[in-house]
Subunit: 310 residues, 2 copies
């Protein structure tokens, strides 16, 4: 019997003592000088991205329960880049990390079945590494239940999870997600929250920790709005973007947690993986980019650790 | 000076005499017996999918102006499957077809820039086939303008286009897209339509034919709703899903066109590429799956040709 996704996540959070998740969003232009590709060939670009990804994973694996790998940054390098994404998922698993594939896929049912096959179901072909599939993925639920159901089925059967976009971090998303937010009608994001609750509330989807394998992406944009979502979605794990480079703080993330300190993981991407480019860390560690990443990750993990105490 | 996407599309529609687009959504289970993979290895599965894709492209290239290649069906085979997607885009270009990449991507601005790099911008690495990038892509605009702007910029600069989801074909999407549709407020899909109009209305985005490079995916769900969208979006090219296997007919697609017969392309996927599995065509062509595909494509192209006459 496979352990439930939310129970695996809770256990990993307890073991590392923090709900911090490091987001891997690598772009060539930002890599340390020594990892820059030697030439303008695709294989060199992919190798550079992958070497940096492996290094970050190795550095943060002892410090956090999970990494989130952003597929878009690998798709920028076509199919070869995506092959590197899958190899990094496997590498993170072998370093003892849970892995969230940040894919934001969302298409009609007949296509969603295929996306679920490539991104969340265990491989059935004999020479595909079974470790290359993440434990959870982010999804767009805007095409309705059919768009997410194949993923939820895979999650239920294989101890995996999904995080459906409810309230994105980018202020640019407000023109859709705050739509309708007047006295007569609640904002659009609360409609998405109701759908996510319905999709994930069946008892068979809920783990021993009381959390469903159907989670939500909830940026802590304003404390009352976040608290209202937490109340609406008592069984829903939140994946919280926006910490660090995007401006959220541990304090602003607090309403994402349940009263007992469970129910949320906090992601930071650029502020950790590019720490060596910020004066705060490079002043201390100079050219040692690895040391800057470790220090930034430790500081982030410690800063949000308090949130799990309830 | 690169020709505008909508002008290229209009010219291709005139030259083939039909607004029919063939959708390539291949799954291993549905391939002709002779193309089934010989073993359970990933490379064999990818080769089978790709061989079928090349065959369909070769068969339909003389009959239609464009093909739509659905990325999800290739992602089901991981990075290697995506590499086949890119090779098929290039192959279709070499057969004189316009290509729409059906990717439905939608993420916040910082990630959208990377997705645009991999899916719509001309490659900058020296050994990437410049023909492997499609002429247009489908997008999800639910994260707002920042999620689509990098694609629109690439479209403007390189004579390419985007089709943003406004009204999807899957009835399951209604729980989101018909949200709010009561006396007090119009349905959510009209809000998306207004955004698409705004994103695409700048003069620099509009071609000589009067259509923007920012299009919309509009399923012909009900005639009044479709006509209202056509009125709201006079400069917006429509990519119309749902014909054939999903139940739409040429008549139900008519309100997607402008009065002069321009402004829309009609996609059919399964009813054409799996025609050899339907009694209507296999009764006539027996085991000759290529002949069934050609006949089904000719019938589809002729059925919707009348719509371009205004």
């Amino acid at each position: 019997m496979t352990m439930h996704f939310a129970d695996r996540l809770s256990s990993a959070i307890r073991s590392r003592g923090t709900p911090a998740v490091v987001g891997l969003d690598p772009v060539l232009e930002m890599l340390p000088a020594e990892l820059q590709p030697r030439d303008r060939r695709l294989a060199s670009a992919v190798a550079a991205l992958e070497e940096f990804g492996r290094a970050v994973i190795d550095l943060v694996a002892p410090l956090v329960p999970a990494v989130k790998i952003n597929a878009g940054f690998f798709e920028a390098l076509y199919g070869e880049g995506m092959s590197a994404y899958y190899r990094l998922v496997a590498h993170a698993h072998r370093r003892g990390l849970l892995v969230i594939g940040d894919i934001k896929r969302g298409d009609i049912g007949s296509t969603a079945r295929l996306y679920a096959r490539g991104h969340l179901e265990p491989p059935t072909l004999e020479d595909v590494d079974p470790e290359c599939i993440p434990d959870g993925v982010t999804l767009a639920g805007y095409l309705g239940e059919n768009a997410v159901r194949p993923f939820i089925e895979a999650a239920r059967r294989h101890g995996r999870g999904v995080f459906v976009l409810v309230r994105p971090s980018d202020p640019g998303a407000d023109e859709v997600h705050e739509f309708g937010g007047d006295l007569a009608s609640p904002p659009f994001y609360t409609h998405m929250a109701r759908l996510v609750r319905r999709w994930g509330e069946a008892a068979e989807l809920v783990g021993q920790c009381g959390l469903s394998c159907v989670g939500a992406v909830v940026a802590p944009k304003d404390a009352p709005g976040t608290a209202a979502l937490r109340d609406m979605l008592p069984q829903t794990p939140f994946l919280v973007p926006g910490y660090g480079a995007q401006g959220a703080t541990a304090e602003s993330c607090r309403p994402c947690f349940r009263a007992d300190g469970t129910g949320a993981i906090i992601n930071a991407s650029r502020s950790v993986i590019y720490a060596f480019r910020t004066p705060a860390w490079s002043a201390r560690h100079g050219e040692d980019w690895r040391a800057s990443i470790v220090s930034a990750c430790r500081a982030f993990a410690a800063d949000v650790a308090v949130l799990t105490r309830g």
